[in-house]
Symmetry: C2
Amino acid sequence: MIIDCHGHYTTAPKALEAWRKSQIAALADTSQARAKGALAIGDDEIRESLEGAQLKLQRERGTDLTLFSPRAAGMSHHIGDAVTSRHWSEHCNDLVYRACKLYPRNFAPVCQLPQSPGVAPANCIGELERCVNELGFIGCNLNPDPSGGYWTDPPLTDRWWYPLYEKMVELDVPAMVHVSASCNPAFHFTGAHYINGDTTAFMQFLTSDLFRDFPTLKFIIPHGGGAVPYHWGRYRGLAQDMKKPPLKELLLKNVFFDTCVYHLPGIELLAKVIPVENILFASEMVGAVRGVDPETGHPYDDTKRYIEAVTWLGAEDRRKIFEGNARRVFSRLKA
Amino acid sequence: MIIDCHGHYTTAPKALEAWRKSQIAALADTSQARAKGALAIGDDEIRESLEGAQLKLQRERGTDLTLFSPRAAGMSHHIGDAVTSRHWSEHCNDLVYRACKLYPRNFAPVCQLPQSPGVAPANCIGELERCVNELGFIGCNLNPDPSGGYWTDPPLTDRWWYPLYEKMVELDVPAMVHVSASCNPAFHFTGAHYINGDTTAFMQFLTSDLFRDFPTLKFIIPHGGGAVPYHWGRYRGLAQDMKKPPLKELLLKNVFFDTCVYHLPGIELLAKVIPVENILFASEMVGAVRGVDPETGHPYDDTKRYIEAVTWLGAEDRRKIFEGNARRVFSRLKA
């Protein structure tokens, strides 16, 4: 079985986007009551949005189950306030829940959190509990920068985040550290902000004692860990200069990397420097890069091919990357 | 000959730091006149600061010439205002000039610019001209984020920067894109902010027409290009989705990568995906990582060893990486 631990509902029916637009428009009109309202999307529309996209690609590429969450850039926690984010997150999560219910063999749900800049992450506990306890979600996406590119909230290792981590540990769900859209013109979202978010989070973990406080807390750093595996020597050396234990001991019981790296040399590097136990298969399809690589004739994001092409990985290594590690990290996954 | 294109004067005599501290202290006392003052550092102190550090390491590692600039984190353009940065930059550049004069076979000077958040980069032209025309500097370091981690200035591709680029082209000097200290608690400086700055600048270039406007403008992206080579497939795919020409055509006449990547697998990846013409040898010693890698028994930042260990590079490839490319990019270098 092949589990893709990183897929977003990027193809959701247009009514979702329309709802969000009207929500944003209403922010300007303070005389309006804040209403969550309803989302009129039929099951057939959901099926249609998935059949020609994620499901087709699963079949074509030979992957089985995608851990499925709302569109990452769509989270846009910087828009509005905590109520805005709550209403929006509930709709997005409910829609992902419905998609997973319609295709329980193809998708397992991962939730968006109703974060908002300057609002304590404890405020997300209600939605996390609802998703996990009532709807069967198995993980969440955690935005290390709800400001959308200005990084005005405390680092992920600050006690500001601890109440949410306590709940994650209690519920036994991991978080994928995933920024959202960038409203800072310095940062292109998928080309800079996403990758920077990954690198930043890793370095925050490295300089902290977070995993002494939460020995069972688990994070997935997506996009192959940002810049981290490429600079693994730098990170080993920085930790050493700081008199920290080796990275394996310091972090690798708690921090995992996905395989959203869109060329073979990158995947080879990842598999060379990061222990195989810490690598989770992912493609992020349908996502950031949608074209076909003229150098290979295959889609850039068909990452399964790269892993299969790493000649020195044994059968057991591949089983861990494709399935075993995901089951260990997303321990609520039963499919 | 082996040219290290990326070295900072991280070991400058203590009087430099003392001057900076008093400059910062004076910022709080608005009754004081803004004085540049003098820096009392003798030639012997400069010699002493280099003999046991950069010069010793050059000898031990077998490198010849370091392109030498003021300490990157020390630039701290976010402190004070444009006058603060002008006084500080002049002192730092003068000291680098003196070091290079004392050891003309070992160092060639690269300047810091007196940037300040919200101040037009055109304001740096005077210091750039002074350094290049009067003192023989051959390049500059350009900070894409003078705010120190809040990224409040326009992207490097905005016309905001164009007057400085016009001067760089006229003087025929390249810029190394290099952020400075981070005053944002989200970003560790050498572990996140530096690498993010590299990745961010590359993506700014990718999404722009900058090199159509400045066909001879040259940038070095340090630290092995941040996350870029590891995600080369992602960047190729993003450019393709945007209907841009291939990266080679779009950027690689103007954008170069250094080799400050502190382990062999990273250097192997760099040499595999980036054309050899675009790779400039560098170590950033004495810099971000100062320890000895227990896996190799050699200093992490002894990057010459990694390049020598890439078995498929031919003699001519190595000559380009170690010397030829640096001479082409830093065309004012005569040594």
